[in-house]
Symmetry: C2
Amino acid sequence: MEDLLKQKCVACRADAPRVTDDELPDLLKEIPDWQPITKDSVLMLNKVFKFEDYAQSLDFTKKVAALAEEEDHHPAILLEWGKVEVTWWTHKIGGLHKNDFIAAAKTDALNT
Amino acid sequence: MEDLLKQKCVACRADAPRVTDDELPDLLKEIPDWQPITKDSVLMLNKVFKFEDYAQSLDFTKKVAALAEEEDHHPAILLEWGKVEVTWWTHKIGGLHKNDFIAAAKTDALNT
């Protein structure tokens, strides 16, 4: 994960390369708590963070939102009582770019 | 909607009454932009609020979260770029209580 944490999301064009099937397993090993999910045929990275109360959930949501603005890459953040579900993917390519793995690693680092 | 806005969510027990099929249409008329949806067999109230940028979406998310704490009733808030999807229901009764309609009306009032 250290390697991903040092990187920064790069601007992503519609013709930017998706992560290939060959690259996927190694990248997933770097963020082992994230699940690859498919929604509307789009591959995404998903993780549920649990918290003891709403204030903590909201605080984490704000941190992830600040990261999103900093990286200019925006996930879906589902805020509920006691949990926050974060989903990263790259809209423009309809799938996963390396950016999403960088962003997932940085999201984990916000929760320490 | 005015009538709902004046009310406050009441603490809800597991045996509190769900909104009945007879009451539902009149209550929905008071919050016409909200859609009744069913998820995992639970009836919920859902609305997507659109915004021009992420900062506005985040700002609205914070307002809804503050309302949730004030009413001690917590929705699911899905924050994405340019939109916030809010879903109200009452966990303890597995469906809709009048609280949810009050909370929906108050959510609309935050977006004016």
